[in-house]
């Protein structure tokens, strides 16, 4: 940051360019969960169905020999009001061609009475912020940056460099630094990541990795490797290798696939192989494939030693335009978990599942469009089925009005709880100027949670949101546009 400050001060102000996008959104949302409770075993009564209940009608769970039986009652209503503001910014014109500073930060506070919205602690988070030097043969970033790969999103404070050889046909990337936790721009030692007072590392892990890719217009193959090491114990937190490839032969085909291997556990992680078909000028396209999913746990935790098993899935999707304003689409997937070696006769747990989605979109012109989608998902743990439909009308170019209705039925395998939700909503988006966009909406939720005891309840609520997006930039006509974009010709349009 000091170096950046020095650069900014050293360069004439008129040479510097900047681009900032601010997006701020506030919501009102309510939760109603459950409240654990207990009752003396001697106060439990036997219900008409032979089950055990409190005198108030709540189904209880009793363990032989214990004084108390436990149960859940509906929890209190808790309201959240998250206000999230994200700022993306880029500064260039620093006196060296190809040099820029790029950043993204977020401010999040919960204006509600319960402080329940996730991600608002700490209130200010730096998602990325790095100095970048980009030339045709090499790109270097230093600061808080990230790598996106089949391993997921790996953030770190360090450096990343990419070199290109053979006119870009071969690229190599190396990176390293102090890592951030998965899925968040906070170090693993942050208290915000430990709401349940779990074991937590005290020092950040060291991240190192790289990839080598061979890129041709019709194919791309890449091998990648990443390791994360706990500097305190000098032990591995994670070590993975992977490969992925995409081939685009003629006739609208796309073949893609990849796999990753967990070097710490000695097993294959997730993998997939897909064939896509999107023929020239045809009113249909489709995709079929197989995949395997296995969660990855870092060795900070003991979960990896519990041997989570993968599931294997076959999937496919198709999209057809039978006549121009109408698009029909369908997707399906069936999956089955591998053998867990834990079967017992007392408890039967689903091992297979499937999901299907059907939908159609009607769009006659820019001003009017409508879509309806139906989905059903049956499988272990939880199931759901429902539909959602929406109509969008744009009376003028800069204004979109959307009305929607949806229904969802949700059943949980391990719990007597069937939820049925109807949602009716309306939303509006308006581009006041090229640099200012406003949006908002309100959704009414009509929700019932059914059980066979007194824990059933119905509750309705309105969830509303409003936001704005502002773009600020250098005052010249095209000053807010990144110089790389200015090197792309305006062209004749399509």
């Amino acid at each position: 940051m000091a170096a950046l400050g020095g650069l900014l001060l050293a360069m004439p102000a008129q040479a510097q360019q900047y681009w900032i996008r601010l997006e701020s959104q506030v919501q009102t949302v309510a939760f109603r969960g459950v409240q654990p409770d207990s009752v003396l075993a001697t106060d439990v009564v036997i219900g008409a169905n032979g089950g055990r209940f409190t005198r108030g009608g709540f189904a209880v769970r009793c363990v032989s020999g214990q004084t108390y039986c436990s149960f859940f009652r509906p929890g209190q209503r808790r309201s959240g009001g998250p206000l999230m503001t994200t700022a993306d910014f880029s500064v260039w014109g620093l006196g060296v061609e190809g040099l820029r500073f790029k950043g993204r930060s977020r401010l999040g506070v919960d204006l509600g009475d319960s402080d329940v919205w996730p991600g608002t602690d700490p209130a200010v988070q730096l998602i990325e912020g790095y100095l970048e030097y980009a030339k045709p043969r090499v790109t270097v970033q230093a600061g808080r940056t990230h790598v996106m790969s089949r391993f997921g999103y790996t953030g770190f404070d360090g450096a990343k460099g990419t070199a290109r050889f053979l006119r870009g046909a071969v690229t190599t990337t190396l990176y390293g630094g102090w890592g951030l936790a998965y899925g968040v721009a906070l170090p693993v030692s942050s208290p915000a990541l430990n709401p349940l007072d779990e074991f937590q590392p005290r020092r950040r892990q060291l991240v190192a990795g790289g990839d080598a890719a061979w890129v041709l217009p019709w194919m791309r193959g890449r091998v990648l490797y990443e390791r994360q090491v706990d500097p305190q114990s000098d032990a591995f937190v994670s070590e993975r290798a992977g490969i992925d490839m995409v081939v685009r032969p003629p006739h609208g085909l796309t073949l893609s696939g990849g796999a990753d291997y967990d070097l710490t556990s000695g097993w294959w992680g997730s993998a997939e192989a897909t064939v896509g078909w999107s023929p020239v000028q045809a009113p249909a396209s489709g995709r079929v494939g197989a995949r395997r999913y296995r969660p990855h746990f870092e060795l900070w935790t003991i979960w990896g030693a519990f041997n989570p098993v993968p599931y294997r899935a076959l999937f496919g999707s198709v999209s057809v335009v039978p006549w121009q304003p109408i698009q029909l689409r369908a997707r399906a997937e069936t999956y089955a978990f591998d053998e867990t070696e834990t079967d017992i006769a007392l408890v039967d747990v689903e091992r297979t599942g499937w999901r299907v989605g059907l939908g159609t979109t009607f769009r006659r012109n820019r001003a009017l469009g409508a879509s309806v989608d139906y989905h059903i998902e049956l499988g272990p743990g939880a199931s759901s089925l429902g539909f959602d439909g929406r109509v969008t009308w744009s009376p003028i170019d800069d204004l979109d009005l959307t009305g929607s209705v949806a229904n969802l039925k949700r059943a949980l395998e391990f719990r007597f709880n069937d939820a049925d939700v109807w949602q009716y909503g309306a939303a509006v988006e308006y581009s006041a100027t090229e640099r200012l966009r406003l949006y908002g909406g309100a959704f009414y939720y009509d929700e019932r949670r059914d059980r066979g005891d007194a824990a059933s309840f119905a509750w309705n609520q309105v969830r509303a949101h409003a936001g704005l997006r502002v773009v600020l930039g250098s005052p010249a006509d095209q000053g807010s546009i990144h110089p790389a974009i200015l090197r792309v010709p305006e062209g004749g349009g399509r």
Binding site: F31, R61, P118, S149, T264, F306, N307, L346, S431, E434
Partner: protein, 463 residues
Amino acid sequence: MKPIAAVLALLSLTAILAARPSPQAFDHERHARLFPSCDQCHAGATTAGAALLPSPAQCAVCHNDQIRPRVDWAPPAEPRAGNLRFTHDAHPKLPCAMCHNTAGAERMQVQRTVITSCLGCHAGGAAHLEAPDAVCGTCHVPLARADRLQEEDIAGLPKPPSHDSAGWPTGAHGATAWDEANQTVATSCATCHARNFCATCHVDAPEQPAIQALEADPRSLVLHAELVPPASHAEGSFIGAHGAMSRPGGIACRTCHAQESCRTCHTGLPGITDSLAVRGDGRAAGAQTRRRAPANHTPEWKERHGVEAAARPETCATCHVRQDCLDCHRPSAAAAAGYHQPLFLARHPAAAYARQSDCSDCHNAGQFCATCHQAAGLVATDVLGAAYHDAKRVFIFGHGEAARQSLESCVSCHTERDCLLCHSVVRGRGFNPHGPGFDADRLRRKNAQMCTVCHGAAIPRGN
């Protein structure tokens, strides 16, 4: 198109006309003894200006309801539709049997035409569709001048074998079509085709002399033709190599491609298509191309493209214009809202249990899942005797299967502490949590500290 079209047309016409039912067909064989010579009825075959067919009065000499039943027949008002140049006047010295009888047949076993007789003199005895190219015009007029042929007649014209050869659609037919000696289109092509037909594929039709030498005739469109990509287009390297191939002196892209073909992808570089024609009258629309993402535009490309674009915007400019960038790098009406649909919060248990996608790519389980579940009362508070899993009466005994299948869901409410109550050697009951594929030695090598959580200092060897 060599020997072909002429023979082709002759044969086809013969077939067409022969196939047409003729309710009043004259039975020559039954009348053999009545008519010792052909010119008794067909005077026009030997006498210039005379009628080729008899008059009804000649038939009525016998068919008068006294000798034989009357017949209702009259010669057609016009000669049959066709594309033949043939006239009997031009062949006065030939005996009728030469063309109307097969070898060895009785005199009155007549046919309309025995084509082999024509080909015997005019094509050196070649088969009809294999006759030399130049002789087609001897017997046939060009299609555009065969005024009385109907579209169904043209559609039924036989296809010469050469048209099915591998290289015919892409190159061979062009070499055949140009009559170098006479600097015009080959008569074989003109017999069955007209300019309109060629312009269904040829974007460069106005620049092709062979095509321009053909007369225009919209009836020719009844014959179907379609563009066939050359073999080079199927090669995997074609997308990358086509630029060099298309430069002056390279492959003639302009035959099948209009400028619009290229602009499907090359939106930002319109100048590079200047050597091609623009779609318009007299030209084919050209090959329909489709914009395809190169192989490096993988799902995470959205995340990575900035670095590549900043370093090499020229590469992007091959297919993109500035507006493509500005669609996202400036707010626009098309800007999308959040990743999940509005109802997803209610739906997320099903999606999370079955890992429809990898939640942890974007969400930290501690910060995101556990924080909310804690607020909603969905966390384990003590021993695992609570009633949350009340749909399974003895869930605790069978939880292992659910846990190994959906461990990510379990840890959104449970801590290690909960599990160690039973699954720890030093602090719990020593139930072994290790399952299929567990490699104890490897894990110990990679991170022995993790093993000590359950085993203390006495980490056992093996599984």
